[in-house]
């Protein structure tokens, strides 16, 4: 048996459930010595849970983890670290104010007579860094360095722990292309030294550059494992999303368009031009017409949420122009956006949506309060009339309008947030993952409502990580990748096939935004 064929880390039939969900179901993973193993899957596929089981953050309900053939059972992360499994997280979680050397040796500083031996520590740190071609002054505080270098320091720390396996969870999400190259150099050296890497990323280019093996997770199950090069990009995306490559969208447009109404004839209600907020949004342009549902497609990290946040004023755009019904919108003010008729349903209901301690009524009228008040005085009567109507229309289940919103189910909380937006009689609705984490019944109701609102003439921008929801709910889909629009699907072209082709497209493939036809896409898919 050759060196590289020896499995260093094995997970066998791991099952892990949390209250209400099975996060992993009989998942196995075998990592060989000196290889880079890609772990991919959409949001919620179970990647994080698997990593947490491997690194001792969670313990599995059933199944075995073996390190160098020996069964291990880590009950906390430090045990996994001592055994040789280190983790580099997406966000560098080191101590910003301490020096590079101290960060590398945090918790195991070399000492002399009970005090930290700084000379020895700095020397050792320098040694580790130069071995991997990282040139940096180890005495400088970590935060004075760029994100890329900080990430390298995190990797150096992982290596200096005498790791045999390094888990990298989206290590490049905050790196510049040049820094990514540097990281890859380090990874190649690690491989040469016989260290294995588990590499989690959504970026196709990176996976195909650096990884040999791939394991695809979907809905907590392993759906594929094997050499990466034997799996073309398109198939990898299809496997991740759980769709057949040839599968075509079943129903292409909403009822509104089916009824023969040509929304493309209308003047756009929302015009976005060259919207930029680096690094996530790098010049996005699109139009939304009244009565149209525009889907924003793209994988995680493509810049979808960041785009709608910049449009709605939650984040200030660096440059670019947003026009609502022909009028320029001042950037960076949610108040101005709401006055102009743009309302955002934020991605994270808990942190950016509900005010948990306030009542259903107050949560619904929150944004429209000035409109429902006279001279700054709250009129509960007026509020109650509006709230009653909306609670009936959206079928919000609460014991009374005065019940605290935190006591409601996720689906009902989401409906409260939608009701909050409807209070504003918006011209444009930006819906970021409107059905995430809510039960099936509420989900169908929300989807039906979105369609209904579009029929009432509201322009809707829809973001969904669920391909079915995106394709079936949208009249048109604009596909984002690395913060730019790479494709636009319209009419019959709104299909799973076309979406996957767009998602898997090679970088640098110049695609004209509006002229994409199914034929074009087929070409790209086969190239």
């Amino acid at each position: 048996m050759s060196e590289t064929n020896r499995p260093v880390l094995e997970a066998i039939d791991i099952t892990k459930s949390f209250p209400g969900v099975v996060a992993l179901s009989d998942v196995s993973l075998t990592v060989h010595r000196g290889t880079v193993h890609a772990l991919v899957g959409e949001n919620g596929a179970g990647k994080s849970t698997l990593i947490k089981v491997l690194t001792g953050v969670h313990s599995a309900d059933s199944g075995d983890v073996r390190l160098n053939g020996e069964p291990v059972d880590f009950t906390r992360p430090s045990e996994a670290q001592h055994a040789g499994i280190s983790t580099v997280y997406q966000e560098v979680n080191l101590v910003p104010l301490m020096s590079v050397a101290r960060n590398i040796f945090l918790g195991r500083e070399p000492t002399r007579r009970g005090l930290i031996d700084f000379a020895q520590m700095n020397e050792k740190a320098e040694h580790v860094l130069t071995t991997y071609g990282i040139d940096v002054d180890v005495r400088r505080p970590l935060r004075s360095l760029g994100m890329g270098v900080q990430q390298m320091v995190a990797v150096a720390r992982a290596i200096s722990l005498k790791a045999s396996v390094v888990v990298m969870d989206e290590p490049t999400s905050s790196l510049e292309p040049r820094e990514v190259e540097k990281l890859f150099d380090v990874i190649r050296r690690l491989k040469a030294d016989g260290v294995s890497v588990i590499y989690v990323s959504h970026r196709m280019e990176e996976l195909y550059t650096i990884c040999e093996q791939v394991t695809v997770l979907r809905d907590g199950r392993r759906v594929h494992t094997g050499p990466l090069l034997e799996l073309p990009r398109l198939e990898l995306v299809a496997t991740m999303l759980g769709r057949e490559v040839a599968e075509v969208r079943s129903h292409g447009t909403t009822g509104y368009a089916d009824a023969g109404h040509d929304v493309t004839a209308e003047t756009p209600v929302l015009v976005v031009r060259n919207l930029t907020r680096r690094p996530a949004v790098a010049g996005v342009s699109f139009d939304v017409r009244p009565g149209e549902v525009l889907g924003l497609g793209g994988l995680l990290g493509a810049g979808r949420s960041e785009t709608v946040k910049a449009v709605s004023g939650v984040d200030r755009a660096e440059s670019g122009d947003v026009r609502v019904a022909g009028r320029h919108l001042r950037s960076g003010s949610t108040g101005a956006a709401i006055s102009a008729g743009i309302a955002l349903l934020p991605e994270d209901r808990k942190t950016e949506g509900i005010i948990p301690e306030l009542s259903v009524r107050e949560n619904i009228v929150l944004a429209a309060m000035p409109r429902l008040s006279r001279a700054g005085l709250v009129s509960e009567g007026r509020q109650r009339r509006v709230v009653d109507t909306l609670m009936k229309r959206l079928r919000i289940k609460a014991s009374s309008p005065e019940q605290k919103v935190r006591e409601l189910s996720g689906g009902n909380q989401q409906k409260v947030l939608l009701a909050r937006l409807l209070c504003l009689s918006p011209k444009v609705l930006l819906l970021d993952e409107p059905t995430r984490g809510i039960d099936v019944g509420a989900k169908a109701e929300v989807q039906a409502l979105v369609e209904e609102l579009a029929q009432d003439g509201i322009g809707v921008v829809l973001i969904s990580s669920e391909v079915e929801e995106l394709l079936e709910g949208s009249d048109r889909v604009v596909v984002l990748k690395d913060g730019v629009v790479v494709d636009e699907l319209r009419g019959e072209g709104v299909s799973g096939d076309a979406l996957m082709a767009a998602l898997a497209a090679e970088p640098g493939t110049d695609r004209v935004r509006t002229s994409a036809t199914p034929g074009d896409r087929q070409e790209v898919a086969s190239s």
């Binding site: 939650v314 949610t334 709401i338 006055s339 942190t351 509900i354 005010i355 309060m369 700054g376 709250v378």
Partner: protein, 324 residues
């Protein structure tokens, strides 16, 4: 069997949770009632008009300052500068008495508003943490007050100002009436105005309030200005009662008394709620406990220990909120 056990455990947890919620809501009133009953039974001369008047007059400045503090805490902030603003107000008062009482008092309020404007700007626009921003004002405010007064204690002889200190209407001290008026005003502001509801929303979830288009910065700025103005008002009355402007001693440690009243009154430091009535009860509770201990001829240090125990109890009762 296990299902049954689980549901029994669930039920027990619910009962426990509800009991805590009940204690959290009404604990301060119960404690206040217990202290009053104790005083009626064991403290001599408690239920006399003179004593009631004294207690109310003494608690009034704390209440006025604490109500401003309650609004700041409602936005998940804190205002450590209130004691120093009282001193600043006391220092400004004699400077403008030559122009008349009304302009002088207005200038005091303006000074309080400016201090609040500075603290509020640091919090709302610069993004400084409230505790740090107002700590700077705590130190700087008193320093400025001492500079203005030239470190001197100034006797106040203006009859109108002095009558604010010892005058009364229908047997109730002006100071108590003002405190009551401020309490009504703040209650109205918090419950019935858009500003008040936005305040509570910002404290409950600042990110969500921003997404919903609320004027988050304006709300933050306003609560610090209001807190500064109320502290300045308390400074004027305190000076009147003292019949002297003494910037070196006025308002010392008032920020702590005010925070104590607010927290004991059940307003969570995490923000999102403002309990006006609770704050009044909290201030009264601390005042009565202190008075009772002094009447019992126990040393002042005992009063401090008891006060500490009350704070700990209030924090303990509220602790569940944060672990939610």
């Amino acid at each position: 069997m296990t299902v049954l056990q689980a549901s029994v455990v669930d039920m027990a947890a619910t009962i426990r949770r509800d009991r805590w919620r009940w204690v959290r809501e009404y604990g301060v009133y119960i404690a206040l009632a217990l202290v009053v009953v104790f005083d009626l039974l064991f403290t001599s001369n408690f239920a006399t008009t003179a004593n009631v008047r004294t207690q109310l007059v003494q608690v009034s400045p704390v209440i006025v300052v604490a109500l401003g503090m309650a609004m700041v805490i409602g936005t998940a902030g804190i205002d450590l500068s209130v004691g120093s603003v009282m001193a600043l107000s006391a220092a400004v008062l004699p400077l403008y008495l030559g122009y008349g009482v009304v302009p002088a008092v207005l200038m005091c309020l303006v000074a309080g508003c400016l201090s609040g404007l500075l603290g509020g700007s640091l919090v709302a626009f610069v993004g400084v943490q409230p505790i740090v921003a107002t700590l700077a004002l705590l130190v700087g405010g008193r320093g400025l007050a001492l500079v203005i007064a030239d470190g001197q204690l100034k006797q106040i002889s203006d009859p109108t100002i002095l009558s604010l200190g010892d005058g009364s209407f229908l047997g109730i001290s002006y100071f108590v009436l003002v405190a009551a008026g401020v309490a009504l005003l703040v209650a109205f502001l918090v419950r019935r105005t858009t500003f008040g509801r936005q305040l509570v929303a910002v404290g409950g979830n600042r990110a969500a309030s921003r997404v919903a288009g609320l004027p988050v910065r304006r709300v933050l700025l306003t609560v610090y200005v209001l807190s500064g103005a109320l502290a300045a008002l308390a400074g004027v009355f305190y000076t009147a009662r003292l019949t002297a402007s003494d910037p070196s001693s006025i308002g010392q440690l008032y920020e702590l008394s005010a925070i104590t009243a607010v927290v004991v009154g059940g307003t969570p430091l995490a923000g999102g709620r403002v309990k006006v009535l609770g704050t009044l009860a909290g201030a009264m509770l601390v005042q009565l406990v202190r008075a009772t201990i002094i009447k019992l001829d126990l040393p002042d240090s005992t009063a401090q220990l008891v006060q500490a125990a009350i704070i700990l109890a209030a924090v303990f009762v509220q602790r569940e909120r944060s672990t939610r």
